[in-house]
C-alpha cells in the first residue's frame, strides 16, 4: 500500500489523563466512550436476558420474584434499545463519519460531547433506578393504563420517563450534528453520491431521529403530567384516551426500529465489498433504498396496534405499507449478494458476521412480513412469535452487524489485530446459540405462549422449547465473553495493525491506526467513493470507470 499517514500531528502531545477524556471534544475519543458505554450496557442487558431465560427454563420456576421479573424484562428491552444499540451506533457514527468524509471533526464538537454525557448520565440514572428497586416495570413500551397513576404508584415509571428524556436529548443533538457534518463538511470533491454508504445510512438515520424522537418526548411528557400533576391525557375518566399513548409511542417506536438497523446495513455495505474484493453492486440503489426505508418508516406505526380495534381500512393501509418496506430491504440484500457473486471472498471474522447477518436478518424479516398480515397478527400478537421476530431482527440483525463493524474497525480504533480463531469461535457460538435461542420462540408463539409471562404450567407443553432457548442463551453469553476477551487481549498485546490491514478503500484507512488528533495532516480530496483504490490503481481508478459517478 502506498498510503501513508498523518501520524504525529499532535497525537502524542501528552499522556491521556482522566481530565483530557472528561473535557474532550475529539470525535474519536467521544466515539470510543460511546462504544465502550454501549458494550457495558450490553453486558448489563445481557445479564437481564440470562436471568429471564433462567426463570423460563422450566415450568413453575420461582427463581425470581414476579415483581423483580417485571423490572428485569423491562430493563432488558430498555437497555438493549436505548443504552446499547442506539449509543453504540452513535459511537461508530462519531468515530467513523468524520474520518470517512476526510474531515477533522464533527461540525459541533462540544455539542457532540454533550450528547455523549447525556447518554452516559441518563444510562446511569436508569441503573440507579434498578439498584434502588425503582426500575421501570411496565414493559419497554410502557403502555397506559398500566403505566398510569392508577396502576403504577412507585417511581418506576417516572424513571422510564426522565431516563428516556435524557436519551432523547442525547440522540437529537447527535442527529443534528451528523446532518450538518455530513451535508456541510465533506472532503473537497466528495459529492453526495461519492459518500461511503455507511455515511449515507447515518445521514438518513439522523433525519429519522430528528422527526421520530419528538413523539417519544411528547408521549413521555404527557404521561409525566398525568402521573404527577393529575392531568387526564390518557385517562378516560377525565375524557382522555389510553390509545393515544400507543399512537404517540409507536410514531417513535417504529422509526426507531430503522434507526437501529439502517446504520448497521451501512456497515455491511462497507464490509461486503472489501471482503469480496469488488466495488458494491448498485451503489445508487443501496443508497437510495435507505432513503426509501426512511420515508416508509413513518407510515407503518399502527401495525403494532392491529388488536386495539382500529377500522379495517386503516389496518389494511398499515399492513400494505409494512409489506412495502420489504422491497427496499430486499434491494439491499440482493445488492450485497450480487457484490459477493463472483468476488474473491475472504472469510475473516467481520465477513463471517456480515454473512451471518444475512441469514439471521432474513429469518426475522420474513416473519415481519408474516406478522404484518392482519389476521395472522390477531393470532400471534403479544406471543413469543413476535418476540422471536424482533430478536432475529435486533440480535441477528443489529447485534450481528454491530459486531461485524466492531471487528472490522477495531484495528483502526486500537491499532491492533485481534485473534481470528477466537473471532470464529465467537461467530459460531452466536450463530448456533442465536438460532437455538430464538427459533424455539417462533414455535412457542405458535403454541400460544404469551410474552412477558412470569412462568407457565407444565401441562402447556412448553417446557422443551423453553429449555432449548435457555441453552442457546447461555451459548450467546459464552460467545460474548470470548469476544470481550479477544478484543481486550488484542488491545493490550495484539500485533500492530498498520493503517490499512484489510486493504480497504475508504478514507478512514488512509490515516494511521489509531488516527492522530484532527485525523489528517492535509485534508484529502476525492473523486470517487473508493479514493484509496483510485490511488493504488490510478489506471483503473473508479472515477475513470464511471463507478459511483452518477450525478443527482
Amino acid at each position: 500500500m502506498a498510503t501513508t499517514l498523518g501520524h504525529g500531528a499532535g497525537a502524542q502531545a501528552g499522556p491521556p489523563t482522566w481530565l483530557a477524556w472528561l473535557t474532550t471534544t475529539d470525535h474519536k475519543k467521544i466515539g470510543l466512550m460511546y462504544i465502550l458505554g454501549g458494550i457495558f450496557f450490553f453486558l448489563i442487558g445481557g445479564i437481564d436476558a440470562a436471568l429471564i431465560r433462567t426463570q423460563l427454563a422450566a415450568s413453575n420456576m420461582k427463581l425470581l420474584h414476579p415483581d423483580l421479573y417485571n423490572e428485569i424484562f423491562t430493563m432488558h428491552g430498555l437497555i438493549m434499545i436505548f443504552l446499547f444499540a442506539t449509543p453504540t451506533i452513535a459511537g461508530f457514527g462519531n468515530y467513523l463519519v468524520p474520518l470517512m468524509i476526510g474531515q477533522r471533526d464533527m461540525a459541533f464538537p462540544r455539542l457532540n460531547a454533550l450528547s455523549l454525557w447525556a447518554f452516559l448520565l441518563g444510562g446511569l440514572l436508569l441503573l440507579v433506578g434498578q439498584a434502588t428497586g425503582n426500575a421501570p416495570n411496565a414493559g419497554w413500551f410502557n403502555y397506559v393504563p398500566l403505566s398510569g397513576p392508577r396502576f403504577s404508584r412507585g417511581l418506576n415509571v417516572d424513571f422510564w420517563i426522565v431516563g428516556t428524556t435524557l436519551l432523547t436529548i442525547s440522540s437529537t443533538a447527535g442527529a443534528i450534528n451528523f446532518i450538518v457534518t455530513i451535508l456541510r463538511m465533506r472532503a473537497p470533491g466528495m459529492g453526495i453520491n461519492q459518500m461511503p454508504l455507511f455515511v449515507w445510512t447515518v445521514l438518513v438515520t439522523a433525519f429519522i431521529i430528528v422527526v421520530a424522537f419528538p413523539p417519544l418526548s411528547v408521549s413521555a411528557a404527557l404521561l409525566y403530567l398525568d402521573r404527577n400533576l393529575g392531568t387526564s391525557w390518557y385517562d378516560p375518566a377525565g375524557g382522555g384516551d389510553p390509545i393515544l399513548w400507543q399512537h404517540l409511542f409507536w410514531n417513535f417506536g417504529h422509526p426507531e426500529v430503522y434507526i437501529l438497523i439502517l446504520p448497521v446495513m451501512g456497515m455491511l455495505s462497507e464490509i461486503f465489498p472489501v471482503f469480496s474484493r469488488k466495488p458494491i453492486f448498485g451503489y445508487l440503489f443501496v443508497a437510495w433504498s435507505t432513503v426509501a426505508i426512511g420515508v416508509l418508516s413513518y407510515t407503518v406505526w399502527a401495525h403494532h396496534m392491529f388488536t386495539v380495534g382500529m377500522p379495517l381500512l386503516s389496518q389494511a393501509f398499515f399492513a400494505a405499507n409494512t409489506n412495502l418496506v420489504a422491497v427496499p430491504t430486499a434491494v439491499k440484500i440482493f445488492n450485497w449478494l450480487a457484490t459477493m457473486w463472483g468476488g474473491k471472498l475472504r472469510l475473516a471474522t467481520p465477513m463471517l458476521f456480515a454473512i451471518g447477518f444475512l441469514g439471521m436478518f432474513l429469518l426475522g424479516g420474513i416473519a415481519g412480513v408474516v406478522v404484518a398480515t392482519v389476521p395472522v397478527d390477531w393470532q400471534v400478537h403479544d406471543s413469543y412469535f413476535v418476540v422471536a421476530h424482533f430478536h432475529y431482527v435486533f440480535f441477528g440483525g443489529t447485534a450481528f452487524g454491530l459486531f461485524a463493524g466492531l471487528y472490522y474497525w477495531f484495528p483502526k480504533m486500537s491499532g491492533r489485530l485481534f485473534d481470528e480463531r477466537l473471532g470464529r469461535w465467537h461467530f459460531w457460538l452466536w450463530f448456533v446459540g442465536g438460532n437455538l435461542t430464538f427459533m424455539p420462540m417462533y414455535f412457542l408463539g405458535l403454541l400460544g405462549m404469551p410474552r412477558r409471562y412470569y412462568t407457565y404450567d407444565a401441562a402447556r407443553g412448553w417446557d422443551f422449547w423453553n429449555l432449548v432457548a435457555t441453552v442457546g442463551a447461555y451459548m450467546l453469553a459464552a460467545g460474548t465473553l470470548v469476544a470481550l476477551y479477544n478484543l481486550w487481549h488484542a488491545w493490550r498485546r495484539g500485533p500492530e495493525a498498520g493503517p490499512n490491514p484489510w486493504d480497504a478503500w475508504t478514507l478512514e484507512w488512509a490515516t494511521s491506526s489509531p488516527p492522530p488528533d484532527y485525523n489528517f495532516a492535509r485534508l484529502p480530496s476525492v473523486k470517487s467513493a473508493r479514493p484509496l483504490w483510485d490511488e493504488a490503481y490510478p489506471e483503473q481508478a473508479d472515477w475513470k470507470q464511471g463507478y459511483h459517478d452518477e450525478r443527482l
Partner: protein
C-alpha cells in the same frame, strides 16, 4: 503539521483545498457537490458539555424527587448555556479573540434543524389534541366546561405579532452596524414578550378550570404552557443578546446571536398563531 498526507491527488489539489495550518482549522463544503465553500474553526477541549449534562441529570433527578432540586438543575443548565453561547456572541476583533465554533453558516444550519425538531414536537402535541377532540370526545368543549373567552388571547396574539416588528428592526440595525437600533429593538421585543407572559398568567388565574378538571383543561394548560415555556426561552435568548448588545459585542459582520434570537422569536410567534386558531377559534 510537518507530516505530509501522501495521497497524490490530495497534494495536487492542495492549493485550493488546503486550509491554513493547524489542526483546528478546516474546510466546509457545499451540501451536494462537496465543493469547499467556507473555513471552519474547531473548538478545543471544554468542560461545558459535561457540566450541562450534569445539570440535566440534576434536573431529571429533581423531576423524580423534589422540585427544588429540579430548580437547581435548571439553574446549572441555564448558566452553562449562557457561558457556552458567549464566544459565539463576542465579535472577533483581533487574531487573539476566540473565533466562532464552526462558521455562522454551520450554526445557522444547526439552528434550523433544531427548530425543525421543535416544530415536530408542537405538531405532535397538536395532533394529540386534535385526536382527542375529533375521535374521542363526544362534544367539545366537554359538558360543564365553559368556552374559552377570546378577548384576552386576541390581545396577546396582537402583542406577539407586534413584537416581530422590533425584533426585525433590531436584526436589520445590526446588519448595518447600528448599535443603538439593535439595543432599542431588543428591549422593545422583550417588553412585549414579557407583557404576553403577564397576560397569559392573568388568563390562567381567571380561567374557570384547571389542568385537573378534565382533558379539556389538560390540553389547554399543556399546550399554552409548553408554548409559554418557549416564550420564556425566547425572552432568555433576547435578554442575553441585549446584555451583549449593550456592551457593543455585535458587529455588522458577527451577530449570529442576534440572528438566532430573532429566528427563534419568529418561530414562537408562528406557533402561537397556530395555537390561537386551533385552541380558541376553532
Amino acid at each position: 503539521m510537518a507530516q505530509r498526507f501522501a495521497m497524490p491527488r490530495i497534494d495536487a489539489d492542495a492549493d485550493q483545498a488546503s486550509p491554513p495550518a493547524g489542526g483546528q482549522q478546516t474546510l466546509g463544503s457545499s451540501p451536494f457537490s462537496g465543493e469547499p465553500d467556507q473555513e471552519i474553526h474547531l473548538p478545543g477541549p471544554s468542560a461545558l458539555p459535561l457540566v450541562l449534562a450534569f445539570g440535566l441529570l440534576v434536573l431529571a433527578a429533581g423531576a423524580l424527587l423534589n422540585y427544588y432540586i429540579a430548580g437547581i438543575g435548571l439553574l446549572i443548565c441555564v448558566g452553562t448555556i449562557v457561558a457556552w453561547a458567549r464566544p459565539a456572541l463576542a465579535p472577533v476583533t483581533d487574531a487573539t479573540a476566540e473565533p466562532l465554533e464552526g462558521g455562522d453558516d454551520l450554526n445557522w444550519w444547526g439552528l434550523l434543524w433544531f427548530l425543525l425538531t421543535e416544530a415536530v414536537l408542537f405538531a405532535y402535541l397538536i395532533a394529540a389534541y386534535l385526536y382527542i377532540r375529533a375521535v374521542i370526545a363526544p362534544e367539545w368543549p366537554p359538558e360543564g366546561t365553559e368556552r374559552l373567552h377570546l378577548t384576552l388571547p386576541a390581545i396577546n396574539t396582537g402583542l406577539l405579532l407586534l413584537s416581530s416588528l422590533p425584533i426585525r428592526y433590531a436584526g436589520r440595525s445590526i446588519q448595518r452596524g447600528q448599535q443603538r437600533g439593535l439595543v432599542v429593538g431588543l428591549a422593545l421585543t422583550i417588553l412585549l414578550g414579557a407583557l404576553f407572559i403577564v397576560l397569559q398568567g392573568y388568563e390562567y388565574a381567571v380561567a374557570g378550570f384547571t389542568p385537573q378538571t378534565n382533558v379539556f383543561g389538560s390540553i389547554f394548560y399543556t399546550l399554552t404552557g409548553f408554548h409559554g415555556a418557549h416564550v420564556l426561552i425566547g425572552l432568555g435568548m433576547l435578554s442575553v443578546a441585549l446584555w451583549h448588545a449593550a456592551r457593543g459585542r455585535f458587529s455588522a459582520e458577527r451577530h449570529f446571536g442576534v440572528q438566532a434570537a430573532e429566528l427563534y422569536w419568529h418561530f414562537v410567534d408562528v406557533v402561537w398563531v397556530v395555537l390561537f386558531v386551533l385552541l380558541y377559534v376553532l
